[in-house]
Amino acid sequence: MGRIATLIASALAISIGLIVLVGLLTGSTLAGLTGLVLQIAVITAAMTVLIGVLNLLILHLRRIFGRERGIIYSITLVVSFLLVIALYVLDQPDARRVVLEDVAVSIESTLSALLVFALVYGAYRLMRRRVTWAAVLFTAIVLITLLGAVPLSQLALLEQLRAWILAVPASAGARGLLLGIALAAIIAGMRVLIGQERAVRE
Protein backbone atom coordinates (compact mmCIF):
# COMPACT_ATOMS: atom_id res chain seq x y z
CA MET A 1 0.00 0.00 0.00
CA GLY A 2 2.85 2.35 0.94
CA ARG A 3 4.63 1.50 -2.28
CA ILE A 4 1.55 2.34 -4.37
CA ALA A 5 1.10 5.65 -2.54
CA THR A 6 4.75 6.53 -3.24
CA LEU A 7 4.32 5.68 -6.91
CA ILE A 8 1.18 7.83 -7.16
CA ALA A 9 2.96 10.73 -5.40
CA SER A 10 5.95 10.43 -7.76
CA ALA A 11 3.73 10.26 -10.84
CA LEU A 12 1.75 13.31 -9.66
CA ALA A 13 4.88 15.34 -8.91
CA ILE A 14 6.52 14.50 -12.24
CA SER A 15 3.40 15.07 -14.35
CA ILE A 16 2.44 18.35 -12.63
CA GLY A 17 6.04 19.56 -12.85
CA LEU A 18 6.16 18.82 -16.57
CA ILE A 19 2.74 20.41 -17.22
CA VAL A 20 3.78 23.63 -15.45
CA LEU A 21 7.16 23.69 -17.20
CA VAL A 22 5.72 23.13 -20.68
CA GLY A 23 2.83 25.52 -20.03
CA LEU A 24 5.14 28.32 -18.87
CA LEU A 25 7.67 27.81 -21.66
CA THR A 26 5.43 27.33 -24.66
CA GLY A 27 2.37 29.33 -23.61
CA SER A 28 0.33 26.66 -25.40
CA THR A 29 -3.09 25.22 -24.54
CA LEU A 30 -1.44 23.83 -21.41
CA ALA A 31 -1.26 27.41 -20.10
CA GLY A 32 -4.84 27.12 -18.75
CA LEU A 33 -3.98 23.90 -16.94
CA THR A 34 -0.80 25.49 -15.61
CA GLY A 35 -2.83 28.37 -14.17
CA LEU A 36 -5.19 25.90 -12.48
CA VAL A 37 -2.28 23.96 -10.94
CA LEU A 38 -0.72 27.20 -9.68
CA GLN A 39 -4.06 28.24 -8.14
CA ILE A 40 -4.24 24.90 -6.31
CA ALA A 41 -0.69 25.54 -5.06
CA VAL A 42 -1.72 28.97 -3.72
CA ILE A 43 -4.76 27.49 -1.91
CA THR A 44 -2.57 24.74 -0.44
CA ALA A 45 -0.08 27.36 0.76
CA ALA A 46 -2.93 29.24 2.47
CA MET A 47 -3.99 26.01 4.19
CA THR A 48 -0.47 25.46 5.48
CA VAL A 49 -0.66 28.84 7.24
CA LEU A 50 -3.63 27.53 9.25
CA ILE A 51 -1.70 24.34 10.01
CA GLY A 52 1.24 26.51 11.05
CA VAL A 53 -0.87 28.58 13.46
CA LEU A 54 -2.23 25.39 15.04
CA ASN A 55 1.29 23.95 15.28
CA LEU A 56 2.55 27.10 16.94
CA LEU A 57 -0.27 27.26 19.48
CA ILE A 58 -0.14 23.54 20.37
CA LEU A 59 3.62 23.73 20.82
CA HIS A 60 3.58 26.74 23.12
CA LEU A 61 0.49 25.72 25.11
CA ARG A 62 2.16 22.35 25.78
CA ARG A 63 5.20 24.21 27.03
CA ILE A 64 3.12 26.44 29.30
CA PHE A 65 1.09 23.58 30.81
CA GLY A 66 4.17 21.37 31.05
CA ARG A 67 6.14 24.23 32.74
CA GLU A 68 9.02 23.55 30.37
CA ARG A 69 12.17 25.57 29.83
CA GLY A 70 11.56 28.91 28.09
CA ILE A 71 8.00 29.14 29.43
CA ILE A 72 8.22 32.95 29.54
CA TYR A 73 8.68 33.10 25.74
CA SER A 74 5.69 30.79 25.25
CA ILE A 75 3.47 32.94 27.51
CA THR A 76 4.59 36.09 25.64
CA LEU A 77 3.73 34.47 22.31
CA VAL A 78 0.29 33.23 23.34
CA VAL A 79 -0.60 36.57 24.99
CA SER A 80 0.57 38.50 21.90
CA PHE A 81 -1.42 36.16 19.66
CA LEU A 82 -4.60 36.66 21.66
CA LEU A 83 -3.99 40.42 21.90
CA VAL A 84 -3.66 40.84 18.12
CA ILE A 85 -6.83 38.81 17.51
CA ALA A 86 -8.69 40.85 20.14
CA LEU A 87 -7.54 44.12 18.54
CA TYR A 88 -8.81 42.94 15.14
CA VAL A 89 -12.15 41.86 16.59
CA LEU A 90 -12.54 45.16 18.48
CA ASP A 91 -11.41 47.07 15.35
CA GLN A 92 -8.64 49.12 17.00
CA PRO A 93 -6.28 50.12 14.14
CA ASP A 94 -4.14 52.49 16.27
CA ALA A 95 -3.50 49.93 18.97
CA ARG A 96 -2.85 47.32 16.28
CA ARG A 97 -0.24 49.59 14.71
CA VAL A 98 1.51 49.96 18.06
CA VAL A 99 1.67 46.19 18.59
CA LEU A 100 2.48 45.14 15.03
CA GLU A 101 4.61 47.98 13.74
CA ASP A 102 6.00 50.23 16.46
CA VAL A 103 7.13 47.51 18.87
CA ALA A 104 8.36 45.10 16.20
CA VAL A 105 10.19 47.73 14.13
CA SER A 106 11.91 49.25 17.19
CA ILE A 107 13.16 45.87 18.35
CA GLU A 108 14.35 44.98 14.84
CA SER A 109 16.20 48.29 14.52
CA THR A 110 17.96 47.62 17.81
CA LEU A 111 18.98 44.17 16.64
CA SER A 112 20.21 45.59 13.32
CA ALA A 113 22.47 47.98 15.22
CA LEU A 114 23.94 44.99 17.04
CA LEU A 115 24.97 43.46 13.71
CA VAL A 116 27.93 45.84 13.42
CA PHE A 117 29.42 44.48 16.64
CA ALA A 118 28.76 40.93 15.51
CA LEU A 119 30.63 41.56 12.26
CA VAL A 120 33.59 43.22 13.95
CA TYR A 121 33.75 40.31 16.38
CA GLY A 122 33.55 37.94 13.39
CA ALA A 123 36.59 39.53 11.75
CA TYR A 124 38.50 39.37 15.05
CA ARG A 125 37.53 35.73 15.61
CA LEU A 126 38.47 34.78 12.07
CA MET A 127 42.03 36.06 12.56
CA ARG A 128 42.35 34.65 16.08
CA ARG A 129 41.20 31.17 15.09
CA ARG A 130 43.75 30.66 12.33
CA VAL A 131 45.70 33.15 10.24
CA THR A 132 45.28 32.00 6.66
CA TRP A 133 45.66 33.86 3.37
CA ALA A 134 41.89 33.82 2.96
CA ALA A 135 41.37 35.30 6.45
CA VAL A 136 43.99 38.03 5.87
CA LEU A 137 42.46 38.89 2.49
CA PHE A 138 38.96 38.97 3.98
CA THR A 139 40.01 41.30 6.82
CA ALA A 140 41.98 43.57 4.47
CA ILE A 141 39.02 43.90 2.09
CA VAL A 142 36.68 44.63 5.00
CA LEU A 143 39.02 47.38 6.25
CA ILE A 144 39.47 48.91 2.78
CA THR A 145 35.71 48.85 2.15
CA LEU A 146 34.94 50.47 5.50
CA LEU A 147 37.71 53.09 5.34
CA GLY A 148 36.94 53.82 1.68
CA ALA A 149 33.42 54.82 2.67
CA VAL A 150 34.73 57.55 4.99
CA PRO A 151 34.26 60.95 3.27
CA LEU A 152 37.79 62.35 3.88
CA SER A 153 39.99 63.76 1.10
CA GLN A 154 43.07 62.06 2.62
CA LEU A 155 41.42 58.70 1.96
CA ALA A 156 40.62 59.37 -1.71
CA LEU A 157 42.94 56.55 -2.83
CA LEU A 158 41.13 54.09 -0.59
CA GLU A 159 37.83 55.32 -1.98
CA GLN A 160 39.02 54.55 -5.54
CA LEU A 161 40.35 51.17 -4.44
CA ARG A 162 37.03 50.40 -2.76
CA ALA A 163 35.10 51.33 -5.90
CA TRP A 164 37.38 49.09 -8.01
CA ILE A 165 37.05 46.16 -5.59
CA LEU A 166 33.27 46.43 -5.62
CA ALA A 167 33.04 46.86 -9.40
CA VAL A 168 35.56 44.25 -10.57
CA PRO A 169 36.65 41.39 -8.24
CA ALA A 170 33.62 41.48 -5.91
CA SER A 171 31.19 41.71 -8.81
CA ALA A 172 32.95 38.93 -10.75
CA GLY A 173 33.12 36.69 -7.69
CA ALA A 174 29.46 37.28 -6.87
CA ARG A 175 28.42 36.43 -10.43
CA GLY A 176 30.49 33.24 -10.34
CA LEU A 177 28.87 32.20 -7.06
CA LEU A 178 25.42 33.06 -8.41
CA LEU A 179 26.02 30.89 -11.48
CA GLY A 180 26.98 27.98 -9.23
CA ILE A 181 23.91 28.49 -7.05
CA ALA A 182 21.66 28.70 -10.13
CA LEU A 183 23.12 25.42 -11.43
CA ALA A 184 22.42 23.79 -8.07
CA ALA A 185 18.78 24.94 -8.31
CA ILE A 186 18.48 23.60 -11.88
CA ILE A 187 19.86 20.20 -10.86
CA ALA A 188 17.47 20.01 -7.88
CA GLY A 189 14.56 20.84 -10.20
CA MET A 190 15.65 18.23 -12.73
CA ARG A 191 15.88 15.58 -10.03
CA VAL A 192 12.24 16.26 -9.16
CA LEU A 193 11.22 16.00 -12.81
CA ILE A 194 12.90 12.59 -13.22
CA GLY A 195 11.52 11.37 -9.87
CA GLN A 196 14.90 11.08 -8.13
CA GLU A 197 14.34 13.64 -5.37
CA ARG A 198 13.93 12.00 -1.96
CA ALA A 199 10.86 14.09 -1.06
CA VAL A 200 9.16 12.71 -4.19
CA ARG A 201 10.34 9.12 -4.39
CA GLU A 202 10.08 7.96 -0.72
Partner: protein
Protein backbone atom coordinates in the same frame (compact mmCIF):
# COMPACT_ATOMS: atom_id res chain seq x y z
CA UNK B 1 9.30 35.93 -22.28
CA UNK B 2 10.53 36.76 -25.82
CA UNK B 3 11.18 33.99 -28.34
CA UNK B 4 15.01 34.07 -28.05
CA UNK B 5 14.89 33.76 -24.24
CA UNK B 6 12.30 31.00 -24.58
CA UNK B 7 14.44 28.99 -27.02
CA UNK B 8 17.54 29.45 -24.87
CA UNK B 9 15.64 28.39 -21.73
CA UNK B 10 14.31 25.27 -23.46
CA UNK B 11 17.82 24.40 -24.68
CA UNK B 12 19.32 24.87 -21.19
CA UNK B 13 16.58 22.73 -19.60
CA UNK B 14 17.00 19.98 -22.20
CA UNK B 15 20.78 20.01 -21.76
CA UNK B 16 20.44 19.90 -17.96
CA UNK B 17 17.86 17.12 -18.22
CA UNK B 18 20.18 15.03 -20.42
CA UNK B 19 23.20 15.74 -18.19
CA UNK B 20 21.36 14.65 -15.01
CA UNK B 21 19.83 11.53 -16.57
CA UNK B 22 23.10 10.35 -18.13
CA UNK B 23 25.29 11.24 -15.13
CA UNK B 24 23.05 9.28 -12.74
CA UNK B 25 23.34 6.17 -14.94
CA UNK B 26 27.14 6.50 -15.11
CA UNK B 27 27.47 6.96 -11.33
CA UNK B 28 25.20 3.96 -10.62
CA UNK B 29 27.59 1.76 -12.57
CA UNK B 30 30.92 3.23 -11.41
CA UNK B 31 30.46 5.22 -8.22
CA UNK B 32 34.13 4.99 -7.23
CA UNK B 33 35.15 6.74 -10.47
CA UNK B 34 33.79 10.04 -9.13
CA UNK B 35 35.59 10.92 -5.87
CA UNK B 36 34.46 14.07 -4.07
CA UNK B 37 36.78 16.85 -2.91
CA UNK B 38 37.09 16.96 0.89
CA UNK B 39 34.67 19.42 2.47
CA UNK B 40 35.33 20.87 5.90
CA UNK B 41 31.65 21.48 6.64
CA UNK B 42 30.46 18.03 5.54
CA UNK B 43 33.26 16.39 7.54
CA UNK B 44 32.17 18.32 10.63
CA UNK B 45 28.44 17.64 10.26
CA UNK B 46 28.43 13.99 11.49
CA UNK B 47 30.76 15.05 14.32
CA UNK B 48 28.32 17.75 15.43
CA UNK B 49 25.43 15.24 15.33
CA UNK B 50 27.58 12.69 17.18
CA UNK B 51 28.37 15.20 19.93
CA UNK B 52 24.62 15.82 20.26
CA UNK B 53 23.91 12.10 20.62
CA UNK B 54 26.59 11.70 23.28
CA UNK B 55 25.32 14.63 25.31
CA UNK B 56 21.62 13.86 24.72
CA UNK B 57 21.03 17.30 23.21
CA UNK B 58 19.36 18.10 19.90
CA UNK B 59 20.87 19.74 16.84
CA UNK B 60 19.03 22.89 15.77
CA UNK B 61 18.28 23.13 12.05
CA UNK B 62 17.10 26.61 11.12
CA UNK B 63 15.66 27.06 7.66
CA UNK B 64 14.93 30.60 6.57
CA UNK B 65 13.08 32.01 3.61
CA UNK B 66 12.65 29.36 0.95
CA UNK B 67 9.06 28.26 0.51
CA UNK B 68 7.52 25.43 -1.47
CA UNK B 69 5.52 26.54 -4.48
CA UNK B 70 7.64 29.57 -5.29
CA UNK B 71 10.79 30.11 -7.32
CA UNK B 72 12.87 28.99 -4.33
CA UNK B 73 11.29 25.52 -4.22
CA UNK B 74 14.56 23.78 -5.30
CA UNK B 75 16.39 25.42 -2.38
CA UNK B 76 13.72 24.18 0.04
CA UNK B 77 14.20 20.64 -1.33
CA UNK B 78 17.99 20.96 -1.03
CA UNK B 79 17.60 22.00 2.62
CA UNK B 80 15.23 19.07 3.18
CA UNK B 81 17.91 16.66 1.95
CA UNK B 82 20.43 18.14 4.42
CA UNK B 83 17.82 17.84 7.20
CA UNK B 84 17.27 14.20 6.25
CA UNK B 85 20.97 13.41 6.48
CA UNK B 86 21.24 15.05 9.93
CA UNK B 87 18.03 13.44 11.25
CA UNK B 88 19.07 10.03 9.88
CA UNK B 89 22.27 10.18 11.93
CA UNK B 90 20.63 11.70 15.00
CA UNK B 91 17.92 8.99 15.01
CA UNK B 92 20.49 6.48 16.33
CA UNK B 93 20.66 8.38 19.61
CA UNK B 94 16.95 8.98 19.95
CA UNK B 95 17.29 12.77 20.11
CA UNK B 96 15.59 14.16 17.03
CA UNK B 97 16.79 17.49 15.65
CA UNK B 98 14.72 20.58 16.38
CA UNK B 99 13.73 22.55 13.31
CA UNK B 100 12.90 26.23 13.04
CA UNK B 101 11.28 27.30 9.79
CA UNK B 102 10.00 30.65 8.63
CA UNK B 103 7.68 29.48 5.83
CA UNK B 104 4.45 27.63 6.56
CA UNK B 105 4.62 25.66 3.29
CA UNK B 106 7.80 24.00 4.53
CA UNK B 107 5.96 22.57 7.58
CA UNK B 108 4.70 19.41 5.84
CA UNK B 109 8.08 18.97 4.14
CA UNK B 110 9.90 19.29 7.46
CA UNK B 111 7.66 16.77 9.24
CA UNK B 112 7.84 14.43 6.24
CA UNK B 113 11.63 14.61 6.14
CA UNK B 114 12.05 13.94 9.87
CA UNK B 115 9.55 11.08 9.68
CA UNK B 116 11.30 9.48 6.69
CA UNK B 117 14.69 9.71 8.39
CA UNK B 118 13.40 8.04 11.57
CA UNK B 119 11.48 5.43 9.59
CA UNK B 120 14.67 4.53 7.72
CA UNK B 121 16.27 3.76 11.11
CA UNK B 122 13.14 2.00 12.46
CA UNK B 123 12.96 4.63 15.23
CA UNK B 124 9.61 6.16 14.35
CA UNK B 125 7.77 5.05 17.52
CA UNK B 126 7.20 7.97 19.86
CA UNK B 127 8.87 10.46 17.54
CA UNK B 128 6.04 12.47 15.97
CA UNK B 129 5.53 15.57 18.08
CA UNK B 130 4.95 19.26 17.35
CA UNK B 131 8.03 19.96 19.49
CA UNK B 132 10.34 19.03 16.63
CA UNK B 133 9.25 21.65 14.12
CA UNK B 134 8.76 25.28 15.09
CA UNK B 135 7.13 27.58 12.59
CA UNK B 136 8.11 31.17 13.27
CA UNK B 137 5.93 33.35 11.03
CA UNK B 138 8.54 36.01 10.39
CA UNK B 139 7.20 37.01 6.97
CA UNK B 140 9.63 39.47 5.44
CA UNK B 141 11.07 40.27 8.88
CA UNK B 142 14.27 38.27 8.64
CA UNK B 143 15.67 39.97 11.74
CA UNK B 144 12.78 38.64 13.82
CA UNK B 145 13.59 35.09 12.71
CA UNK B 146 17.27 35.60 13.51
CA UNK B 147 16.32 36.85 16.99
CA UNK B 148 14.12 33.80 17.50
CA UNK B 149 17.06 31.52 16.71
CA UNK B 150 19.22 33.11 19.39
CA UNK B 151 16.50 32.22 21.91
CA UNK B 152 16.01 28.69 20.56
CA UNK B 153 19.71 27.88 20.87
CA UNK B 154 19.47 28.43 24.62
CA UNK B 155 15.94 27.10 25.20
CA UNK B 156 16.70 23.76 23.55
CA UNK B 157 20.27 23.62 24.85
CA UNK B 158 21.38 22.84 21.28
CA UNK B 159 24.46 20.69 20.72
CA UNK B 160 25.01 22.28 17.33
CA UNK B 161 23.26 24.50 14.84
CA UNK B 162 22.87 24.20 11.08
CA UNK B 163 21.56 27.23 9.19
CA UNK B 164 20.05 26.54 5.78
CA UNK B 165 18.11 28.65 3.32
CA UNK B 166 18.17 32.31 2.50
CA UNK B 167 20.04 34.34 5.14
CA UNK B 168 21.49 37.79 4.59
CA UNK B 169 23.48 39.83 7.08
CA UNK B 170 21.02 38.89 9.88
CA UNK B 171 22.81 35.53 10.02
CA UNK B 172 25.47 37.27 12.11
CA UNK B 173 23.08 37.45 15.06
CA UNK B 174 22.45 33.71 15.67
CA UNK B 175 26.07 32.89 14.74
CA UNK B 176 27.36 35.38 17.28
CA UNK B 177 24.98 34.02 19.90
CA UNK B 178 26.05 30.42 19.14
CA UNK B 179 29.72 31.37 19.47
CA UNK B 180 29.08 32.91 22.89
CA UNK B 181 27.26 29.75 23.97
CA UNK B 182 30.05 27.55 22.52
CA UNK B 183 27.62 25.85 20.14
CA UNK B 184 29.32 24.63 16.93
CA UNK B 185 27.71 26.09 13.81
CA UNK B 186 27.46 25.12 10.15
CA UNK B 187 26.09 27.74 7.77
CA UNK B 188 24.68 26.61 4.42
CA UNK B 189 22.96 29.62 2.91
CA UNK B 190 22.54 30.33 -0.79
CA UNK B 191 22.56 34.10 -0.30
CA UNK B 192 25.94 35.63 -1.21
CA UNK B 193 25.81 38.22 1.56
CA UNK B 194 24.98 35.44 4.01
CA UNK B 195 27.88 33.34 2.73
CA UNK B 196 30.30 36.20 3.45
CA UNK B 197 28.93 36.51 7.00
CA UNK B 198 29.14 32.75 7.42
CA UNK B 199 32.79 32.74 6.28
CA UNK B 200 33.64 35.18 9.06
CA UNK B 201 31.43 33.96 11.88
CA UNK B 202 30.45 30.30 11.42
CA UNK B 203 32.64 27.42 12.52
CA UNK B 204 32.06 25.82 9.13
CA UNK B 205 30.68 27.73 6.14
CA UNK B 206 29.49 26.29 2.86
CA UNK B 207 30.43 28.55 -0.02
CA UNK B 208 29.06 28.68 -3.55
CA UNK B 209 26.88 25.68 -4.38
CA UNK B 210 28.39 23.49 -1.64
CA UNK B 211 25.09 23.64 0.28
CA UNK B 212 23.45 21.52 -2.41
CA UNK B 213 25.78 18.52 -2.09
CA UNK B 214 24.65 16.98 1.23
CA UNK B 215 23.16 13.90 -0.43
CA UNK B 216 26.40 13.17 -2.26
CA UNK B 217 28.71 13.79 0.73
CA UNK B 218 26.64 12.27 3.53
CA UNK B 219 24.40 9.76 1.77
CA UNK B 220 25.07 6.55 -0.09
CA UNK B 221 22.64 7.46 -2.82
CA UNK B 222 24.09 7.34 -6.35
CA UNK B 223 21.50 9.75 -7.71
CA UNK B 224 22.80 12.56 -5.48
CA UNK B 225 26.35 11.98 -6.70
CA UNK B 226 24.97 11.87 -10.24
CA UNK B 227 23.54 15.34 -9.63
CA UNK B 228 27.01 16.57 -8.60
CA UNK B 229 28.54 15.13 -11.78
CA UNK B 230 25.78 16.74 -13.85
CA UNK B 231 26.39 20.08 -12.13
CA UNK B 232 30.09 19.79 -12.99
CA UNK B 233 29.21 19.12 -16.64
CA UNK B 234 26.91 22.16 -16.67
CA UNK B 235 29.60 24.26 -15.00
CA UNK B 236 32.09 23.32 -17.73
CA UNK B 237 29.45 24.18 -20.34
CA UNK B 238 28.93 27.60 -18.73
CA UNK B 239 32.70 28.25 -18.66
CA UNK B 240 33.02 27.28 -22.33
CA UNK B 241 29.97 29.41 -23.12
CA UNK B 242 31.64 32.39 -21.44
CA UNK B 243 35.10 31.79 -22.90
CA UNK B 244 34.09 31.46 -26.57
CA UNK B 245 32.58 34.96 -26.95
CA UNK B 246 35.41 36.43 -24.83
CA UNK B 247 38.06 34.85 -27.06
CA UNK B 248 36.12 35.94 -30.13
CA UNK B 249 35.94 39.58 -29.03
CA UNK B 250 39.56 39.75 -27.81
CA UNK B 251 40.88 37.84 -30.83
CA UNK B 252 38.91 40.03 -33.22
CA UNK B 253 40.33 43.15 -31.56
CA UNK B 254 43.92 41.85 -31.71
CA UNK B 255 43.73 40.63 -35.32
CA UNK B 256 41.87 43.67 -36.63
CA UNK B 257 38.64 41.82 -37.37
CA UNK B 258 40.22 38.76 -39.03
CA UNK B 259 38.11 36.32 -36.98
CA UNK B 260 34.89 38.07 -37.97
CA UNK B 261 35.88 37.95 -41.62
CA UNK B 262 36.83 34.27 -41.34
CA UNK B 263 33.48 33.39 -39.70
CA UNK B 264 31.61 35.44 -42.29
CA UNK B 265 33.47 33.56 -45.02
CA UNK B 266 32.68 30.19 -43.47
CA UNK B 267 29.04 30.69 -42.54
CA UNK B 268 28.09 33.62 -44.76
CA UNK B 269 26.89 36.96 -43.47
CA UNK B 270 24.72 39.90 -44.34
CA UNK B 271 26.19 42.61 -46.56
Amino acid sequence: MDSTTRVLTILIILFAFAAVAIAIQFVRRRREAFPLIASDAYTAMPQVVGAGIESGRPVLIAHNGDALGGTNTPFALIAAEMTYQIAYRAAVGGVAPVMAISESTVLPLAYGTLTRAHKARNRLAGFISPDHVHWAPAGNRSMAFAALLTGMLRTHNAAGAVFTGNYGSELALPLWSATRQRVPTIAATHNIEGQAIAFALADHAMLGDEFSLSGAYLGSDSTALGGVVAASILRIAVIVGLLIPTLYIVGDEVTGGAISRLLAGLFGGGS
